[in-house]
Symmetry: C2
Subunit: 815 residues, 2 copies
Amino acid sequence: SSSLCLFSSSFYSTSSSSLCLSSSSSSLCLSSSSSSLSSLCLTFFFTCLASASASTPGGEEPNGAGHLMDFLDEPFPDVGTYEDFHTIDWLREKSRDTDRHRKITSKSKESMWELIKSLLDAWSGWVVMLLIGLLSGTLAGVIDLAVDWMTDLKEGVCLSAFWYSHEQCCWTSNQTTFDDRDKCPEWQKWAELMTGTSEGAGAYLLNYLLYVLWALLFSFLAVSLVRVFAPYACGSGIPEIKTILSGFIIRGYLGKWTLLIKTVTLVLAVSSGLSLGKEGPLVHVACCCGNLFCSLFSKYSKNEGKRREVLSAAAAAGVSVAFGAPIGGVLFSLEEVSYYFPLKTLWRSFFAALVAAFTLRSINPFGNSRLVLFYVEYHTPWYMAELVPFILLGVFGGLWGALFIRANIAWCRRRKTTRLGRYPVLEVVGVAGVTALLAFPNPYTRRSTSELISELFNDCGALESSQLCDYVNSPNMSRPLDDIPDRPAGPGVYTALWQLALALVFKVVVTVFTFGMKIPSGLFIPSMAVGAIAGRMVGIAVEQTAYHHHDWIIFRNWCRPGADCVTPGLYAMVGAAACLGGVTRMTVSLVVIMFELTGGLEYIVPLMAAAVTSKWVADAFGKEGIYESHIQLNGYPYLDVRDEFSHRTLAADVMRPRRSEPPLAVLTQDADSVEEVEALIKGTDYNGFPVVVSRESERLIGFVGRRDLTLAVKTARQKQEGVVSSSLVFFTEDPPPLPDDPPPPLKLRRILNLSPFTVTDHTPMETVVDIFRKLGLRQCLVTRSGRLLGIITKKDVLRHMAQMMDQDPESIMFN
Amino acid sequence: SSSLCLFSSSFYSTSSSSLCLSSSSSSLCLSSSSSSLSSLCLTFFFTCLASASASTPGGEEPNGAGHLMDFLDEPFPDVGTYEDFHTIDWLREKSRDTDRHRKITSKSKESMWELIKSLLDAWSGWVVMLLIGLLSGTLAGVIDLAVDWMTDLKEGVCLSAFWYSHEQCCWTSNQTTFDDRDKCPEWQKWAELMTGTSEGAGAYLLNYLLYVLWALLFSFLAVSLVRVFAPYACGSGIPEIKTILSGFIIRGYLGKWTLLIKTVTLVLAVSSGLSLGKEGPLVHVACCCGNLFCSLFSKYSKNEGKRREVLSAAAAAGVSVAFGAPIGGVLFSLEEVSYYFPLKTLWRSFFAALVAAFTLRSINPFGNSRLVLFYVEYHTPWYMAELVPFILLGVFGGLWGALFIRANIAWCRRRKTTRLGRYPVLEVVGVAGVTALLAFPNPYTRRSTSELISELFNDCGALESSQLCDYVNSPNMSRPLDDIPDRPAGPGVYTALWQLALALVFKVVVTVFTFGMKIPSGLFIPSMAVGAIAGRMVGIAVEQTAYHHHDWIIFRNWCRPGADCVTPGLYAMVGAAACLGGVTRMTVSLVVIMFELTGGLEYIVPLMAAAVTSKWVADAFGKEGIYESHIQLNGYPYLDVRDEFSHRTLAADVMRPRRSEPPLAVLTQDADSVEEVEALIKGTDYNGFPVVVSRESERLIGFVGRRDLTLAVKTARQKQEGVVSSSLVFFTEDPPPLPDDPPPPLKLRRILNLSPFTVTDHTPMETVVDIFRKLGLRQCLVTRSGRLLGIITKKDVLRHMAQMMDQDPESIMFN
């Protein structure tokens, strides 16, 4: 699971950075963290690159520690930054950005140059969006082309140019006829190339063998690269991105290195034929692009809140290129991924999504100058009575979604807790091998999943040569291109139905084991495939029933003989939407993505009916979608905006310290010495300390962060003359009255947060949760009639919520 | 302006309800508030209906005051309701809803019946959405049909059935040929009907006269109905709906009566030929529907927060039917109108918008079974070089938007402050008369504005017979239907250009005076018309330049002779988007609405370029769109989510009391008598009072609302034995130590809000503004180290923001 992946990486980055701490980013240093067999041969590269990646973390850029410090203006280099795996304080980030903005505005009146700089600053947001759009569109195009080529490489090779995919090969050949577009002499299967013949059991077995071997090679390469270079590149990335966007620091998760490796391994993983898609990982890739361009502008690189605005827009660009659906992408980011989504981000997301989509279109990887992944065009409307099968598909999708989530989470938990998790390379290669072995014999699983979905979505036009369109044509048909009446199914359709049923079972089972392995793996395509197969089967069943029993009362009104009344492709699309909805619990963005695929408002009602039914059914078995489930499995501190918290607890029940615990660790405004402060820091591991007037009155005056306090005391000890252990620390405006001949006191008011957030002990927890969510707090102090009683952190809130929902509160692991 | 309309209504409802207070809702009572001439004849109806409407306010439903009170559970009937023109407290509404939900959930385990009730309660949201969709779709359809008929009534009448519009009349006639679709013997112009001839100056003048007379009649009827029955029905309604959604009470603004009158007068106003549209008012109508159905479910009718969720969705349904763009409608509600838009509302809005759109489609008012208002289909792509004129159109749209807002606000302010405002009927009739007089001679202003826009958007196909499509055809042309090459313009096009230029000037001037009058008036259609005219003119200019100078370097690459390279209709559409964007400052929703009109992703880039340019240009001249400007003009307490507040002020600078003012009016927890409390209520007009431990320590324990306190004291005086003036009022758990033989004390802890929101005096105002926005607070207490210092209300925040932006802080009028 991603959590293991996270931990191993956390270990890895700690060890490598501790060894390389003093070295410059390009120097070499030894590392002892390479444990897996496959990484041994690559240790040299690894260590170089690890140090390079350690100097460019995804989270923030620490300043150099050597330069002169001004004790009044910006006291310590790291004040205001966060540690890895910590939660950010949105309110503070926002007010820091306002300060910055104010400074630039006031400066801009001074000179022309400053005015230009302020204009550039104001435009930098749009520039970042443009760059994100361009890069993520380009990467998506490159990935599409590479996947196409490598998927076909498993079957054969193009003799005229080995870098051509099957389609490109036959497209450039002059010996291709229109009827047999995918057959040409330049494209040779491996058996044909090696033995000269493509017939017979021997050739079949040879092709089979090479198909499996390629799959093993690709999957081995993918998992090794991930293990060695960028452990964060595994999984779909969406659970982690949701957590990061909600205000959590995972350094390196969106780094350059992750970007590169995820792009490469995504191609390998998809080409290996595993039951996974590229859509989710593309969101991660786009977010890495966003983070990369953030580092160009200090406005974004130095402010975690602003950075997250850019990342939300990048997520929209990612979905936009994954499906060719810019509006759907924006809505996906809004509905599924983002936490803080102001209107300005909405506009910018839209811009980024558009640029990305058009960049992709100009690369034209599908060769049809279409923007969308699955372009479909239906010629018949749908009828009211068809809502019944559509809703049934919705029920199926919901059931599948709920079942899949349970099974997958159970398997991931098992992987996490048992010895299985220790052999990720073996696991991936094993699953890839089994998948390839089982997939080859069935034509519907042998091809890539996107091609399968594409075929299932398509209406059987007159030119369609697929087995699924093997209908018995009436001899006296005039065959207009668009309007073909319902016909009886031929033997090919029945064979296809059997094969589809087997493919359905195969996909359902294998996807449970695939999602969560240590390679980039998206869930959109496998879910859609399951739904599309089920939908197409239902569609054909309805079509044949309507043809053979058009006198039944339900068909009589709208399905006369010779009319084209049922479109099985539409059923496939509805089924795909239902299954995707069941797994992810998206509704609006899902329907909009599907609507952008078909481009017609006509079919919104069937899609909506299926999506809503599927959500309701799946919600009945468990409130959480797959991403939330994985977040919970990994114990990320994610406060879901959608959860309704309705228990009757008060802030007093949740705050620390509890009744049995020792009192709250506080500082006084002018009565503690440096020694006492250092003892407090050493003796506790809290992230910050409230400052009170005196321990007796317990009147709160502010809050000081642990990191800032540690740095301040340390710096003062080193730089400020006369500060000794017995020096008084004071947070007031004026120094306290001192005894005769005192050591010089240490004034720390500048690191004191004078506006800590407080609630009373009688505040209902539902209000507290609301405040944490909406203001993005990190902690909140609890008072009663002006006296400080305790503190509630985000972790406390999450633990309390877990407890109220009968989950293990200890599963929340980070601060 | 709407504010005047609001005030007159406020006066009206106060007076009528005070007179009718004791009467039942159907009884008659006299009213003295009818002041305008036109209302005299209708006083009888007016008074009946006023009392009916007074009993069904838009805001909330007061319970009866007579029933037995339980002092422990729900102490006073009106506790928790708001007064008219007051701000709601979102946090409190939310926690009330959670309480309600908790009660239902715990009850549902008791019996089957309670379980069913709880399920019904859970589903009521979707039911309300369904009903809103059905009703607003139906109303939109009826309005469309009625407007069609009445607009044509100004020109002539259908002899076969007088209730047919021109198009319907000729559609049902068998003597219509395909080429002359709008000519048939059944349809007669007034002159033809009266004098038997349709030729000559006499007939023209007679038609002219009747056109003006009908316009005067319609506008007089419209304004009189609004004046007499529902003063709130005037204007577009969007500024007020934005304010209501942000948490403000305007009773009756969304009442049944407003719904009815707005629907009727909207038809009259649009038919009168005034330069206004029906799109904005349709949002108001849909919100009235939403409010109407809220009253069916206590979940929504008794909770102002939940009610606003429904209203947000209703606004989406309104735009959905106005343009036939469900996704655009949802985004409009999200981007432009709504304040609190949780994900649940997103899903429900989408549902309501879909139901509304499909209801409208099944009514099929446009007779083409299209969903959208302006259906267009272009056959040529756009070229990179065309971005230059598109961006110029964006600049034009932005300039027009900024100019329009300034001029319109200046005129509305003049209307508000001078004698002009006292003669609304005369004003409307006058403007309608002038509009009709000037509009008739020009064929492009004589017809309805939607028809004009529709024609301007359309590409000149081979079948088009309009003057705008009078091109010189090359004789040897094969005339394929879709792909007509660029041709030189004929004399008709040049005539049309002149007429369009005149129409542009006319529209620009007359719209400034029309928007803000006391009739329902939308701004979308006039704005789009201005943009579409300008765009079409630019488009024709570019087309002719390209035709005549196709060897110029900018045309050489993409515009060879004989190619169809420029689509003037697309320019019209881009211009319309630019002007609409300049006025309303929408971006994403605007582009999505336009995209839903054309149904092709192809043209998103031109639209986006124009919309963004227009927004930038317009923003350079003033940050506020037309709706925000009207909100400000009327002094509504609207806290814009989009405003960036970046001034360096602290909570201490904004809070009351100021340094020179008397100290804060507070209550103590156990030291004030009933008499003192009553004196405090009488002597101040604050909305609530903080409760402190003692006046010396100033430690805050809670906050009590004025309304609740007044009611509690009054009720106790009446019902509770022994409570006299000298009785002590206490808010603590236990009664305070009392002297011997005391009067029984009055315990008021149950009305005390024990979790008032506090900030420290050092909190930056930007954080305070953020908290007010995100949590929807009504007031916030300011403390320093546990001592209460002052209070900040939403009005204080708004005043401070106005002051910081160099506006008159006294313009904020309501609490």
